[in-house]
């Protein structure tokens, strides 16, 4: 490697990392938090078989799982202004990512809820607790423990998917890298460099996942 290339890599590192910390991570955290709220709500509605709302949830999940994320981004950012709704790039990305991720995670949470033995709900009733009390204190905590690895997986996938936001002019890590490539013409080194930063983020999340699993899993540890 020549000195010029090393210089470019060193100079570009903070220029890639900074939008990563300032845009990619906030976008991920915001969108994933909203997605969790959507997912739990949609899963609970379906689990309780609330009429009308259940059908609405199925429709929402069908649409967002059935169309490409990139198309969803384009519809919201480039399409909506045609009907008078103009949304800034960052909020548009947050909306689309949370709706898209929420649809996938709703299915994960729903399946986890259904995996909790029916006897747990009956035991709650027989202890005098209401449906909502039992859901909140017994069923949902167990379901979230079951769903945790899959949800973590979705979160890690999402960190990388945020690179698609560059297509609607959000200046996240990948967009920043493209700008530097255009100026220096070192695509190989720079795209590998940004890939390594994504890898770093994913590694940190994987580590957090295993810590979280240990913490949540206390009740699943068997004796001996």
């Amino acid at each position: 490697m020549d000195e010029r290339l090393l210089g470019i890599l060193a100079d570009s590192f903070p220029k890639i990392l900074l939008p990563g910390l300032m845009v990619t991570i906030p976008l991920t955290v915001l969108a994933f938090s909203l997605a969790m709220a959507i997912a739990v709500a949609a899963a609970l509605v379906q689990f309780a078989r609330v009429p009308v709302l259940t059908q609405l949830c199925r429709f929402y999940i069908w649409v967002f799982r059935g169309t490409p994320l990139l198309v969803q981004l384009f519809v919201v950012f480039f399409g909506m202004p045609r009907i008078g709704i103009t949304i800034e790039p960052f909020p548009a990305a947050v909306i689309v990512f949370s709706l898209n991720e929420g649809a996938y995670c709703a299915e994960i949470v729903r399946a986890a809820l259904e995996s909790v033995p029916a006897g747990q709900l009956e035991a709650g009733y027989c202890a005098g607790m209401s449906y909502l009390q039992t859901m909140r204190r017994i069923i949902l905590p167990q379901a979230m423990r079951t769903a945790f690895p899959s949800l973590s997986n979705s979160l890690i996938a999402m960190v990388k998917d945020t690179s698609l936001a560059s297509n609607i002019t959000v200046t996240e890590m990948f967009m920043a890298t493209r700008t530097i490539v255009a100026a220096t013409w070192e695509p190989l080194a720079l795209y590998i460099e940004v890939g390594l930063v994504y890898l770093l983020f994913s590694t940190v999340l994987t580590k957090l996942q295993s810590i979280g699993e240990k913490k949540l899993g206390a009740y699943q540890r068997q004796e001996g």
Binding site: A123, C126, M129, S130, Q142, R145
Partner: protein, 254 residues
Amino acid sequence: MLEVKNVKKSFGALEVLKGVDLTVNKGDVVAILGPSGSGKTTLLRCINFLETADQGTLIFDGEEFQLGRVPKRDIARLRKKTAFVFQSYNLFLNKTALQNVTEGLIIARKMPKAQAEEAGRRALAKVGLSDRWDYYPGQLSGGQQQRVAIARAMAAEPEIIYFDEPTSALDPELTGEVLTVMRQLADEGMTMLVVTHELSFARTVSSHTVFMEGGVVVESGPSKEVFGHPREARTRAFLQMEEAGQRTTRSDFL
């Protein structure tokens, strides 16, 4: 204290309960015996609204209810006067032994936490599990889990405890510890309605025995009479067959 009349329940085309009557007085320990599929578990589940009976009358503490049409509010109120011990324990898997006992007290009965924990520790001591209070169900044996479930039931100070085949899921060598706790509870005067396969428990602990078959009560009366002088041929046949079977598979614990 508890009376049900003419309870009927079908699952699809299958008629499981064909009009069952049952009376439990305060302080009674009533054992319900019968072959698999006789409807005894369904009866117990209908009484505590885990299944909705198609018809029948339930009288609890003098209050009369039409099964199948009991408002949710009344169901919740009645459940707070009763407790249920399941065949498969159904301990809250995400809660420790002590939390399993206190959860219903704190959340449903609005008992202050300190008071609930005191009641919980007392109940766990009674079933001989004081030293396991911070264990999760997954860390306990089946017999220990069922004893926690009994502690959970009695800590609520219910008027009656329903037991649904409490020892059927246990290895034979673990049934003894559960039956011992149940006998102790009976000696203290707790009103109990017990669906069971344990003939020795029914014979020696229960004050009354009900024999069910094919969705009807074939015979009922004081346990001494039902075991000593069964009136019905079907009861005799069942008792003989069961006793022969149980003598070969397990020793008498009681």
